[in-house]
Symmetry: D4
Subunit: 254 residues, 8 copies
């Protein structure tokens, strides 16, 4: 999986510095850190450009603390998503330099080096703010400049049109919307940037927990939209980050 490392290993075998049996064992020596209850994927940044994030929901505080400390030790930063207010506050108090973003339900330690690529995060209504903030906080932690643009749903089209200049400046737009989920369609019809659409579970009965907004986005009559899971602000930020880094080789070594 890591050609350089495999090649160096093969060269060591060729040079007699390492026996075939040892080399075979080396190949099985996997690049993760085993905490017993979890295997941290420390090479993910190498493969995918972003270090592994922690899904906080349902994990015990002690486990979370151990994972975060191990990640900070390895990467100098860590990100935990889906943290309730109590767990978030508690965890932040026991970890130096940790910040808990309550509305986003995200805890961050450190931050990535500044990356190019401006990301605009739109929210259709005030009820979609939590998911939008999750996307914005994560994108900021990755290192991207983020511009927030909230309460711009299509029920008041002038609010969206009034923010067109900001949208046109963005390299990628994350559009978060519940209920009818029509915002990404309209955005994609107005700007040339790719649109990452995030349905939220906000709405009356037949929104069916975000299904209505999800289907609207998948069926958008304006193309250029990539849809992520319901309420998945983090996933939207990762996709946006990959998009703006797309043309920048990140695997180069000097």
């Amino acid at each position: 999986m890591n050609p350089d490392r495999i090649k160096r290993l093969l060269e060591a075998v060729a040079a007699g510095e390492r026996s075939p049996d040892d080399a075979l064992r080396d190949l099985a020596d996997l690049p993760y850190s085993d905490l017993g209850f979890a295997k941290l994927d420390l090479h993910r940044e190498l493969r995918n450009g972003l270090p592994e994030a922690v899904f906080g929901e349902g994990k015990e505080l002690a486990d979370l603390k151990a994972i975060v400390e191990r990640l900070v030790q390895a990467h100098g930063r860590a990100l935990v998503t889906r943290l309730g207010p109590d767990a978030g506050a508690e965890l932040a108090s026991t970890l130096p330099e940790a910040v808990f973003h309550e509305r986003a339900r995200v805890l961050t330690c450190g931050r990535g080096a500044l990356l190019p690529g401006a990301i605009a995060v739109l929210a259709a209504g005030t009820s979609d703010l939590g998911v939008a903030e999750e996307a914005a906080v994560c994108a900021d932690w990755f290192g991207h400049p983020v511009e927030r643009c909230y309460d711009v749903g299509v029920a008041g089209l002038h609010r969206l049109l009034g923010n067109l200049p900001a949208l046109r400046r963005a390299d990628v737009v994350i559009a978060v919307a519940g209920m009818d989920g029509a915002l990404p369609t309209v955005v994609a019809s107005l700007v040339p940037a790719p649109v990452v659409a995030v349905p939220t579970s906000v709405g009356y009965g037949s929104s069916f927990g975000g299904l209505a907004a999800l289907l609207t986005m998948l069926n958008a009559c304006a193309p250029g939209i990539g849809v992520v899971n319901i309420d998945n602000g983090y996933g939207a930020a990762v996709l946006a980050s990959r998009i703006v880094r797309g043309r920048t080789p990140i695997r180069t070594t000097p």
Copy 2:
């Protein structure tokens, strides 16, 4: 159900002109015409303001002909929906004064007296034209002035905005859309008239036969929208007709 008729009957009983037993039988004498295979509801216009229409799909041509002739005899006009091109052409050729509207899949005989109330019919895309035409032809047959405004979906917002003056003139707007079904939301946010939303079964895979557009419309973040069944142009026309006739008493007798 018809107070006048019941009262006249009771007066006849009081006057000894009709025995109680006969009156009881009269009350059971129902206002429909039994063709054997169908019971035509000839008093529907009295109750609901519009004569019964015929759902053409799956009916035999001979049966359709008999029904239409009976309705024309009773009301001076008839309307058949959901007719395939072959059945429509054949039926039109055997009925004097019948017109078959192929794109709408509707056959009309006669037309209602001119009614007040302007109805605008919008279609999001060219694939929605069939359903939009069904709505427009039916509304026209009911007697209303109809303004068509097609291919104005939100993927090209300026096409819709360019038709705003026409929309503002309408007393009710019928908005027909498949795929993401976002058109009615945007229309309802721009004009004060009630919007009748018609989802169509047009779209790629996850439109699920119009379900996506249906859910979008039910979850519209702009209120003022009444949704009818998928592809149900006729139902939209009836609702629109009821809406514009709402303030005009149609049951008054001199």
Copy 3:
């Protein structure tokens, strides 16, 4: 969007009273009030005939208070829906002239000028009262005369038939029903007014949170019905209000 205002602006430019650059800025000066966490759409009444309402669920009390005060300042009245009993009572106690309607979960400040158009609100069962009251309280706040007619489901058809005179007087009927959702169909078959159908999430297992009633209403064999979202009493009131105001120009200026 507001032709008069744009024309006056253009005239000012022609008269040299305003520079092109200033005019461009004016056009970008959007008709909403930005509270930071929300953008209030103060021109909505101009566009749609009704001022913006506030969806209370999930909003913080302090935010709600700020929004309501801003709306009362701009319009002289405000409406908040989906308020729990505790939040509603608390909010009502801090806002002068506010009334909290507990069963409807609605808070009102002030009321619109009396509008023409009688609205009948029907509820099929006693469990549907909350949603029906939301519709009735909102319609009343808009300024319409409202007639309530509750517990008239089709399981006791005579209860509905006994209220036919009241139904015939209405310009529009809002029919609220859970379980089988059959009430709107029967109502639409008996009266000529348009019927706004509201499915509720009331029912045993396979009602699937109101889906059964929703599908019944969309598939009603009697046409003339516009369906709104599950439990959406507010949306039904807006649609009913648009319907009865349909023929009355509301944009005229002296």
Copy 4:
């Protein structure tokens, strides 16, 4: 499974007329006729009161012929459901005494002895006639008096109310309806007989192949309704037959 036969067998063993080994084999001697490709359940009438019927769809004509002949030989009658017009006509021509009921898609040979219990079969619309006829033809073949009452959907309530006397005479009512499926609810609220509800796959888009009508019937606000599968006229007839035979012991031996 058949206590009398087991007891007689045990008595024969006790009397030394049959060895234990033979008795064991007897118990394994199963009451079905194996045609190779199908095992006909010839004792079903003994267990359930009605002989096995044949589901015609997808079966080859030759197989159907062999099955029917074997059933007629065993019971003196046979019933095949879900037969297309071509297969039905062809099969009827090769079997003496067979009658093909085209609208019902049912083929019958012979008929059961007259049974007590009047069954009323209702159809909401003319498009539901096929399924209603399947129920009516099957119930008639079982031996029950059947009263048909078609095109009595709730869109014209007076048509249903006009047939109330006939409904009150029935021991059980089969109510067949597509679209909104509201007919069984209204019937069950008007008569004391049990109602067998049959949803049909008739309707516009969001009927979802009968799902809407099915859910309506399951959620009927008037109790006393038993629902069978979509388009399953045969199943409705079997349930109705079991109901009217319920109080008549059919297993008695002199």
Copy 5:
């Protein structure tokens, strides 16, 4: 709706004892008791053979008490379903002669006169007992002899087969099952009585709140089954009661 009463009224009009105008008003005099928040359907027993029952869920205790007292006054008995343990105990303590059946979540006052027709109530597993008890308690309150037969699911077929004699004695079988819902199919294949199938919401993930069991029952390969709503023990009891009373005229007057 009540021919005798209408005829007597007509005779009074013919005899000059009542004016046509008064008679018209009489016809509008509906047979229900209006408590303001609810319209009790006191003639339901006349129409359907069983007095109205009260759905307890979501109703306030004071309202429930008023309703029950009015029903006891009119009929000498009352039935409330879907009562939580606290509400049930409290209500039972304030109403003389009331009994709260905790597992069934049902409160009864009085009991119907003994009716013919034996009803067997089966439950597949111990988790289905609540729904089965709701059916059994209601059927008992209607006046029918009830035989309970619990924990006889098809995972231990011998438990069911061991109860066959009891099943064969029943005039109707109510089969309650969650998870795979296979019990009614097997029962219907073994006995000739009609089977009322009640799916329950018991089960692992993909039971989807009883949907899996519901679909199984609707698709039962053994006919003779009528399905009611998920967890609807009361509805099953009403259907069973209608079935066993089917042949006994209940409207006769001396």
Copy 6:
């Protein structure tokens, strides 16, 4: 069902040691223990190779205690699944030798004799551990050697590939995964052992409570996978146990 016992009974009848009537009663003497509220299936081990387990959810503690004691008395061991932490701790404290496995939500008494067949239990993520532990604890209690392999989801393929040797040693693999549920597909493409796939209800919005993972597993492009219900670790263990015992006759008697 038990030929030997039936044959012995028949021989006793033949020998005059037992009358036919007594023998008939004997045949009805079923192999279960009736506790009143439950019928324990004590012969299940004989039929299926594993004793009956107890589904703990929703059962009262006293009932659970009685059932467990009866099972321990009959089989020397017992297993309760789906126990909350409070109920589990309490039950464990009152039963000698009982162990409560909190993460697995399983209580065990005793353990089966060591059986052949190595079972590997895989979990895709740390949130799937509860279900995986349920499978592992149950399989261990049945008597099988179990190897756990957690946090090996396909988002870090090298973690899975690094455990291939362990997977190749297993006779059957249980693969537990939520979210996209892709783990079993990849496992089945890499090893020849049968794979038991367990979807979990873990995930963001459109996982729909495990439906997404369930469908993925059913549609796996690599064959050799048997799917069990969502979150059903116990069911997976039973299937795995049947698979590894498949070739070992368990019904032999000396």
Copy 7:
């Protein structure tokens, strides 16, 4: 992926017989045969114990012929599933030794060496025969002894019970059923072998293309069942083959 081959390669590098660069290229030399439009996975048998099969639906005849010939050349046998009657007959005529099994829609060339492990294939009804035959023909082609047992659905329980001895002889049972899908539950409660359940798309309306049967099987109250996709007879055969081969090491080399 193939440790032996990797080790030999490393030894060649250590011996200087192969340069590190060449070895790196060797590791990329993948074990599949690229036909341009398809990449045949020729090492699948090594990994999974069974050679790759061909999914025939939608493939062109010429492509199928090329693929089969390449597979026969590599493995001496080939298997094509989901072939229509015309394509199957045509393909069989052009390939020597090919046999087309029409009912199973399967084409076979050659057959695997006899493997241990008896597989019983059950079909609930005659309409399920096609899918059952697909499973049986594939299992036979893999090399296993297969026993067919058709038309043994639970609507006639004695037909199933009469085949118990055959079921008890099987090492694994494949149970194919449409409609209610109850067969696997009952089978799993009667025999100790693992049961592979295959839902079919056979049934009336609410079977929803096999969804009802699928859910029944996933929710089976008798554990020990592994479910495969709807109509997927081939997948069932593969799982059954893996199960019976489970204890037989297939990777051993002398």
Copy 8:
């Protein structure tokens, strides 16, 4: 919408070159070409970077020809998707320079100028080729270099791993997969480029027309994936094109 044009207009008004009334009309002069039955959005390229494409399904040949000719006249190129083989061949024969790509069901006229950004198109199985080709042909027509990589599904992981170098070269990866839809998850875990996931409607029963693959992709445990509609190869190409053009300003004017 176009600030430059508005500003120039305002300057003309200020200069007296244009009256306010004329300017108002100018603002309503919309940038589309009205063919009567369709309104071509000729400015879409300006707004979104790509000219409007034509959805061919359901459109008449003559209409298609007119639309294509108008687009070629305006842009020098045109693209029609979803064309059946007959319509495609016929249309290609009447339009000079048109090419019909049969497997992709796409017709192209001309091609965009070469754009930067390498797009890799992956297909999991041979049955997914049609959708993959739609994506590849469209992306090529837009002007991007495209690398195809087919039949690399996860059932043979080495086929995918063998193509890793090509994947690593791509700026964006389009991954097309039916059945379990697991390919994008695995790809996103291996490369840092953004992944556009396209579910296809290929698969056995419970794929439900692509729903299974769609849900898998939305729930992918590896982030960095944007999902488009089922079978929507064109939409994937548009999103990919927007992504690779993301950093290249396309609105600049000299």
